[in-house]
Symmetry: C2
């Protein structure tokens, strides 16, 4: 069935203008061709019961013949439901946000939703407000916001109003919104437990940017896990490999390096590894390194990186689950998805 030649989108010719140019077929056209009423066509399309098999078949055939497509704008207008959810993510091309986005989208689709997305360019809260505002105008059935900063979180709470909303964040939310995140502090604690178990007593931290909630959570858990007497050396980076490289260089330049370093993400850990190689230190004999994220490539760094895995797929699944609950008016709840320790070769006991 090839595309009918007369399918014309945009600026459809008004029929009363008596112009022979055809527009895209509507339910009425299908109804006419099938010899039924448009309402019957609607019933067939929505799989409602009260339609005889014969009629159903006739309608289906007419739909096929005309290449009829249902107009979702009209349907949304009539029902008040769009079948679309809005997803707001921070713009970074980091594995975290974009991994979450893809996982959310795929799970949404498998549950019958489609997604409109917007990524944040900066860190201004006005942008968040604008985006949410648009989603509401568009009539989305719900909103999932991946909020990595305090300001984005606040702006989301302010803008979402009574729109069913799921917040993917490790920040604190007191209102009645469902909240979801991979357990950042728990993951960081796993890293620290591993290192301490290996016998490390001084563990430095290369942190992510301070405005980032994940970075803050990891930093906090690191600090709380320090052993008595550990000065707790820490340098801040910006998630990039290069910032990890520079942070590690600074750490080494200080002299008297610790025997282990917990790095806030894998990218920075890669930079740290480079700095260590260049300094002629052996990993893990001279110094252990552990990252966070388990991005593709962590298994093949030199040496393969011990890290904390975040399960984005699970996050996407639960996010949709929570959103559906919110849409159905169920009470909000919060979920933390456990992180997972992936032990590879960049960690070991402090050796000689």
């Amino acid at each position: 069935m090839s595309a009918p030649i007369w399918r014309i989108r945009k600026k459809r010719t008004r029929l009363w203008l008596m112009d022979a140019t055809r527009t895209t077929p509507t339910m009425a056209d299908v109804a006419a061709r099938a010899g039924v009423s448009h309402q019957t066509v609607s019933r067939v399309l929505n799989n409602q019961a009260a339609v005889s098999a014969a009629t159903r078949a006739k309608v289906r055939a007419a739909i096929e013949d005309l290449g009829y497509r249902r107009n979702l704008a009209a349907r949304t207008l009539a029902t008040g439901n769009s079948g679309i959810i809005g997803v707001l993510v921070s713009s970074t091309n980091l594995s975290g946000p974009s991994g979450s986005l893809l996982a959310i989208e795929q799970n949404a689709r498998s549950k019958g939703f489609w997604v409109s997305m917007a990524s944040l360019q900066g860190r201004g809260s006005q942008e968040v407000a604008d985006v949410i505002s648009h989603f509401i105008d568009q009539g989305v059935d719900g909103l999932i916001a991946v909020a990595q900063t305090e300001s984005a979180l606040e702006a989301t709470l302010r803008g979402a109003g009574d729109l069913p909303t799921v917040l993917v964040t490790s920040g604190a939310v007191d209102e009645g919104h469902s909240t979801l995140d991979i357990d950042q502090a728990g993951g960081a604690r796993m890293a620290m437990t591993l290192l301490k178990g290996l016998g490390h007593t001084q563990i430095a931290h290369l942190a992510g940017p301070s405005y980032d909630l994940h970075a803050a959570a990891r930093l906090g858990a690191w600090r709380e896990s320090l052993l008595e007497g550990d000065p707790g050396v820490c340098f801040e980076g910006d998630w990039s490999s290069n910032s990890g490289y520079l942070a590690m260089m600074t750490l080494l330049a200080q002299g008297n390096p610790p025997s282990a370093v917990f790095v806030a993400n894998d990218q920075m850990a890669f930079g740290a590894l480079r700095a260590l190689h260049e300094a002629g230190l052996r990993i893990p004999q001279d110094i252990s390194v552990i990252g966070f994220d388990d991005i593709d490539g962590s298994d093949c760094s030199f040496p393969p990186l011990t890290t904390i895995r975040q399960n984005h797929d699970a996050l996407g699944e639960v996010a949709i689950e929570l959103l559906v609950e919110a849409i159905n008016g169920l009470p909000a709840r919060s979920v933390k998805i456990p992180a997972e320790l992936i032990t590879r070769s960049s960690t070991g006991s402090p050796g000689r």
Copy 2:
């Protein structure tokens, strides 16, 4: 201005049911409050000229007071334009597709469009058809498809029909669709030119998956750039670091390794670097490595990776530009964005 308590979404109460429960305010409500007609409200909202400053202000105030939000579904139904573009991307969490997606989204928004997105789960063309079908139902103003495989490309062409479409692909398209890509073959040639210029006469290739159009383009350019007498050793990976590691291991196991390797992407190059380190080879003295993509981290691998940069931001910008042209009925055209050689420390002259 706090959110009015009576804002209720979904299943709005029908007015003629004479129920006092308020619904979300409409243009008519705003009009009543401002003491004008709803059409005047519409004019204000659409920034049309023929409205006096005083009226405009009154309407604006009424909109504020009521917390009025325009219903885009109704607007779309009335005008035939949604202001939304559909973006279809392959699902991989690789830097390429997700970088393109983010760049496209941001440029779309800066041009006044919003994006609905769908990522492909598998490689089946039915999924592509379904997604495009939905976009059409939704009334998108245009479509951007990031098609990395032949089947996705074909399915897109088949499904898009007369919908304004831009294909981000390095595949061949003969129909009247605008096409856009970062110059894959050109980038590969730059890599080969660099290596040959450094004096390498035998250059192996670690390729991406054969079904991928980018992998194919890079492979083809590599093959064509080989010097006379070079056997052209090549192993195929799947873009992952581990596949690069394995491919390089295989290459080394063969014995008599070449003096340089062109790797299809940076991830695989990282794996290759690891294999070389483990084999005790020095980079670039013993063997030069060049990657493709310039992902974050390439600047801090050990040693920093020479690679070919893809400018996703430029791609996003041009994609929107082409789509707007297509929407305005301008003739289709094709753009290739040049790749850029980033020389770092993983390449050098074949040394002893």
